[in-house]
């Protein structure tokens, strides 16, 4: 199932990475942030708190990577280059992720920054949209988005261009065992 998910997601320009543990994923994130931001500059990463961060020492993480901002508001999200949040489901048949947001701040991480890093628990990948929707109590949630690849347009001369109003890069970190 993960293989199909990866293949379909990559076909629509998402970048998919697999990690066998939470710590491997965190190492990847640290490394990615180091490579894609300037250490000296201010908060270039907004990270929305979620079960993934349970048990993670955020203070030491902040000391190590000071670019991270856990307190999200409109200003921090709109000036950040990278947004990190935990998404709820994966759909293998289309390579999509499902982001359920009861908090606006979770959503801001995936709509404002140039790069969206989505942490996806591996066991949340289902084959079809219908199977995913069966697990979601739709009438109880305020807002939800099925995200398939980065933001795109073909409005000028029908030339496909990645990254318009939403992120121009979507990284999906499929994490096992957490």
């Amino acid at each position: 199932m993960f293989e199909l998910f990866k293949q379909k997601a990559e076909a629509i320009n998402a970048e998919v990475h697999y990690f066998n543990s939470k710590s491997e994923a965190i190492d990847f994130i640290k490394d990615f942030i180091a490579k894609n931001t300037q250490v000296t500059s201010t908060k270039e990463v907004v990270w929305h708190d979620s079960p993934f961060l349970d048990g993670v020492d955020k203070d030491s993480l902040l000391k190590e990577i000071p670019q991270i901002e856990f307190n999200i508001d409109q200003n921090s999200a709109s000036s950040a280059k990278i947004g990190i949040n935990e998404v709820d489901y994966g759909i293998a048949e289309t390579g999509s992720i499902v982001e359920i947001s009861d908090s606006i701040f979770k959503r801001l991480c995936s709509i404002l920054p140039e790069i969206h890093i989505a942490i996806l628990p591996l066991n949340r990948i289902e084959q079809t949209l219908e199977e995913v929707m069966k697990k979601i109590p739709i009438s109880k949630i305020p807002y939800m988005t099925i995200i398939s690849g980065p933001s795109r347009t073909a409005d000028i001369e029908r030339v496909l261009t990645i990254g318009v109003h939403g992120p121009e890069r979507l990284l999906i970190l499929a994490v096992n065992n957490f």
Binding site: Q74, S148, H165
Partner: protein, 708 residues
């Protein structure tokens, strides 16, 4: 006025080039996007679930309002455009809104909301890239899904440079430019207005599809979100969203899924800690009247994918500007007739050539050509055709007068005729022969030649319905048919009282004339005893098989006549079908001749109304010919009956494309099974001076019959 617009559009090489390239690529990528899925099954589901909405509209509107209110949305339902404008303006004023961002809402275009907001001093910014370009340029969208397809990167750079700030014509840089400038607008706006692609009554959920991500920003950043939703977007149950999610991206842009599908249920706490305001305006604007109409209610099955525009041979030449309306193309013509009134569609309804290409791709299974024909009928009833047109059609109802005029023309045309073609017509008729020679009216029509043919008496008999073109322009096609059927031991009967099948009147919506033609023909054919009624013109075949009964019923003719029409229709077959059967039964045999290559043009009525396309190819191949398929063999040749007289410029541009595709096969013989297509293609070949033969299949088959 529309003629001027058409001329302008046809001369716009960039528009026609971009749209045509798109439509060609679209046909391929759409097919690929649906691979592994059963399109017929999906569209059956969509048609059924949306038809249910039309049938139960009031109840579903009530359910939606209850569900959405329970979710905490404020819902406003109205039939009046001015009430929507008032609602939004008052809401904006109450909240001191200075700036609004919008994300693709065609319903607000329908009520010209931007103009009214601007008059109140409120800034409005479209945020979809294409829409923004169009807004800055002060233009109208040329396509429902690709609004700026008529502009090149150079045009866009010019618009940006003039209206925003200088930028070079580099697509990727211009996209970044749009992101930067619109991001400021998103962050500053106090209100976001969106449309919705689906509204679920059961749960009060709105679904919004975008690729750019602009709708997400429009909904998330401003404190007030207003969704303006046409009632035709409603579905009853949550599970109804699945077939639409499958079909909409595939049919609209040949994507398996769009980048974002947002589900909006309830307002939550805004990021400044206040309560978000969420308003849903359910918009009617005559749609509920449409739902009650026994014929037009199927318009509710539309999911606004615009695939009917993408496959339309006319739209891809002229684009959306010619329509001069919010909604364009086939479905746009129908929507215009209801949202702006029947009269507003008077000019644009004529643009449909009735080829039926849109029928096979519509994910809502809407009979778009049929509905446009219905508009024609209602217009001609309501407004009355102008005298000249009506007078012409009335002549067709007087068979003797009609036929004697045709015979007289065969004498009058002499000065213009050469080698069986009329190449130039004088004065106002010159348009008709500018890019296509017309066939000369034959000296001796088929009806007179038939008397000279010596046939053996056979037990098996068929009635031959010739139709005007074979009777008066191409009698040799009729002679070929007699020769072939005789060789299979079948006698051909030709009832002399037969006349025009009524197609010119029928496809112009003049139904009383069409029904009179039906009556005359039934009375002419019915007394003859025969196994089949055969026509070698698919338009006539369709008339005899499907239209006569319907026309007579609609015009309230007596039961007895209608019964006769029904009985007759059961015996009707297109010649191409019967001959293929006879070849398979080895009743028709061919002599062995040197192999010859041919390409085949599918007549619209043959392939799409009768479903016949394998049979004529098979027959020609069994007569020893070799097939080289042309690109878009099933795309209309531009004839469309009297269409080529009404819109000669469009007709000849479609014909040119057909000729290009024929030339690319490098084959010297084009076969088809419709005398109208023969006339159109042969006329174009003659005008261009190409060394190509254009033949009705019957002529080729007759030449190759095994003697004795």
């Amino acid at each position: 006025m529309i003629k001027e617009e058409i001329k302008k559009a046809l001369q716009n090489a960039n528009l026609a080039g971009a749209l045509t390239r798109f439509s060609e690529a679209y046909a391929v990528s759409r097919r690929k996007a649906y691979e592994g899925l059963d399109f017929e099954e999906i569209r059956d589901k969509i048609a059924t679930l949306k038809a249910y909405v039309a049938e139960n509209l009031n109840e579903i509107i009530d359910t939606f309002i209850k569900s959405a209110k329970k979710n905490g949305a404020k819902v406003f339902y109205t039939n009046k455009p001015d009430e929507i404008r008032k609602y939004i303006i008052e809401l904006a004023k109450k909240n001191n809104v200075k700036s609004i961002v919008k994300s693709k809402s065609m319903a607000t275009e329908e009520i010209h909301l931007n103009k009214y907001l601007k008059e109140e001093g409120i800034e409005v910014n479209e945020t979809d890239l294409g829409e923004w370009i169009i807004q800055l340029a002060g233009q109208r969208p040329s396509h429902m899904v690709l609004p700026a397809i008529h502009l090149t990167r150079y045009d866009v750079s010019e618009v940006f440079t003039k209206k925003v700030e200088p930028i070079e014509p580099d697509i990727s840089k211009m996209v970044k430019f749009a992101r930067k400038h619109l991001r400021r607008k998103f962050l500053a706006a106090e209100m976001g207005i969106t449309g919705a692609n689906i509204a679920v009554a059961e749960t009060g959920t709105l679904l919004i599809f975008t690729n750019e991500g602009n709708a997400r920003l429009t909904m998330a950043l401003p404190k007030i979100h207003v969704a303006v939703v046409g009632v035709e977007k409603l579905v009853a149950k949550f599970e109804d969203i699945f077939p639409i999610i499958r079909a909409l991206p595939r049919s609209a842009t040949a994507q398996l899924i769009t980048s974002y599908i947002s589900f909006v249920n309830k307002p939550y706490t805004h990021f400044d800690g206040s309560q978000k305001e969420f308003h849903i305006i359910l918009f009617d604007n005559n749609r509920s009247a449409m739902a009650k109409d026994p014929i037009f209610k199927q318009t509710f099955q539309c999911i606004r994918c615009a695939s009917c525009l993408n496959v339309c041979p006319v739209f891809r030449l002229i684009g959306g500007h010619v329509f001069g309306k919010v909604y364009t193309g086939g479905i746009g013509t129908i929507l215009t007739a209801w949202t702006e009134g029947l009269k507003a569609s008077k000019d644009i309804q004529g643009l449909c050539i009735q080829c039926g290409n849109c029928l096979k791709v519509c994910p809502g299974k809407i009979d778009i050509p049929g509905l446009i024909l219905e508009i024609r009928k209602r217009l001609s009833k309501e407004e009355g055709l102008n005298f000249k047109t009506k007078a012409i059609y009335s002549i067709v109802n007087n068979r003797k007068l009609f036929h004697s005029i045709l015979k007289a023309v065969s004498k009058l045309q002499k000065p213009f005729e050469r080698e069986g073609f009329i190449r130039h017509l004088p004065l106002f008729l010159s348009d008709l022969t500018e890019d296509r020679s017309l066939p000369a009216i034959s000296d001796i029509p088929f009806r007179d030649r038939f008397k000279e043919i010596k046939q053996q008496k056979f037990d098996k008999k068929v009635i031959f319905f010739a139709g005007c073109l074979i009777d008066f322009a191409y009698p040799e096609i009729g002679e070929a048919l007699v020769k072939i059927l005789n060789s299979a031991g079948i006698e051909v009967l030709f009832p002399e009282e037969q006349t025009c099948c009524g197609a010119p009147a029928r496809y112009s919506g003049v139904m009383d004339v069409a029904a009179n033609n039906a009556k005359q023909n039934i009375e002419a054919l019915f007394p003859y005893e025969a196994d089949y009624v055969i026509s070698a013109c698919p338009t006539c075949t369709v008339a005899l098989k499907k239209q006569f009964t319907k026309d007579l019923q609609e015009q309230n003719f007596n039961e007895e006549l209608i019964k006769k029409a029904e009985a007759l229709s059961k015996k009707v077959k297109d010649a191409s079908e019967l001959i293929n059967e006879l070849i398979k039964e080895e009743k028709i045999k061919f002599k062995s001749t040197s192999p010859q290559s041919f390409t085949y043009h599918d007549p619209c009525h043959l392939i799409r109304s009768l479903g016949i396309y394998i049979q004529p190819r098979e027959s020609l191949i069994s007569a020893g010919l070799q097939l080289t398929e042309m690109f878009e063999s099933d795309t209309c040749c531009g004839m469309g009956g009297s269409y080529s007289l009404k819109f000669p410029e469009i007709s000849k541009t479609i014909l040119k494309r057909k000729l290009e595709n024929i030339k690319k096969t490098e084959v010297k013989l084009v076969c088809t099974d419709c005398p109208g297509c023969v006339m159109q293609i042969r006329g174009g070949v003659d005008k261009e001076g190409l060394s190509l033969q254009v033949k009705h299949s019957l002529e080729i088959l007759a030449e190759r019959l095994k003697e004795g």
